[in-house]
Symmetry: C2
Subunit: 206 residues, 2 copies
């Protein structure tokens, strides 16, 4: 019996290339491909998929905006499927959030191509597959010290927009936004809101 796979990645070329790579394995079969996070659940159900390979950075809708949310949605709605997150960025917080969302595996796109099929097989067999290097960093990184509001404000601050525009977008007064930013700057040990936002992003806090 072959393992039935779904590929979710917004870059068609990468998706197709991964399909070609996995097609080399006789016990694996790619039965569905999607390019958006919000299409994962339907496709997984329709094709009776065993394992989903999920990129994190993918377009989606408000309910399922990215690959991590797709893993959570799969666990909730199609519990038989296992998720293997395959991502460009080995940010510690991504790993933590992916595991919290119910993903069974987490590999970065730096890993050798030869290891992917094995990761799929182990995930399908019920094991947990995690990049060992990243697992260490993730534990060392600690958990997210930011409050919900700080996260919300930092997300907007990422692009470097002025405080006034951040305030508009999150429906808070400019003064309050500055308070949250100041707090986040303190927690990240940085000097400006943009630095704080970047550090928070790299640690997977936002």
């Amino acid at each position: 019996m072959t393992i039935r796979l779904l590929l979710a990645d917004d870059q068609a070329l990468v998706r197709g290339a991964l399909a070609a790579l996995l097609a080399l394995e006789p016990d694996l079969e790619v039965v569905a491909e999607v390019g958006r996070a919000d299409e994962v659940v339907d496709a997984a159900r329709a094709a009776s998929v065993d394992v989903c390979l999920l990129d994190i950075e993918m377009p989606g809708d408000a309910a399922v905006p990215d690959g991590i949310a797709a893993a959570a949605a799969l666990r909730a709605h199609v519990p038989g499927v296992r998720s293997l997150v395959v991502t460009t960025f080995g940010r510690p917080g991504y790993l933590r959030r992916a595991l919290e969302a119910g993903a069974s595996g987490f590999v970065v796109k730096d890993t050798p191509a030869s290891e992917l099929a094995d990761a799929v097989r182990r995930v399908h067999a019920g094991f947990r597959v995690v990049d060992p290097l990243l697992a260490g960093e993730s534990l060392a990184g600690g958990s997210n010290p930011l409050t919900d509001r700080e996260v919300e404000v930092l997300r907007v601050a990422l692009d470097g927009v002025p405080v006034a525009r951040i305030a508009e977008r999150v429906h808070l007064s400019p003064g309050t936004v500055r308070n949250y930013l100041s707090s986040a700057i303190g927690k990240t040990g940085t000097a400006t809101r943009v630095e704080a936002a970047r550090v928070a992003r790299d640690r997977g806090w936002i």
Copy 2:
């Protein structure tokens, strides 16, 4: 006679997957793979390569920091080889810079996998292959209005560091840095230095 290919991409998984995809074509053969921009020229020479597939975002050294520089280095040192840039980001400025660097083709990773092999063949045959959507944007985008100093300062400003630290890194006085930033803010039609840096990056100006 098969077309001999070199794959340059820092993500091993993507590299391997592309190799599997292209191996499906009987007239194509992947004869070399590298993960750094500064290894492209040597590898291309050693394996007598016909066409190089180059990612842009790749680590490298000071002389060849990315895939675009690798295309330029190939033209200079191994003139027989043609370059096909394969990149995640369809930024208009990337296209312009890639063509200036002597690349024969430019495709984004959104394109269907089925078209890649054809793009390789056309590049090998001496044609120029350019994403048509992007070609339009690139012409509309116009050329780079920034001075060298403005570019240098904006590159550092991308991370949101304070002006004082930008001044240290580029060996200018803080006041001068602010002048360049102010000028760049005006040219980009933005409000802060970080916004200016992001706009400039997205247009391929820095």
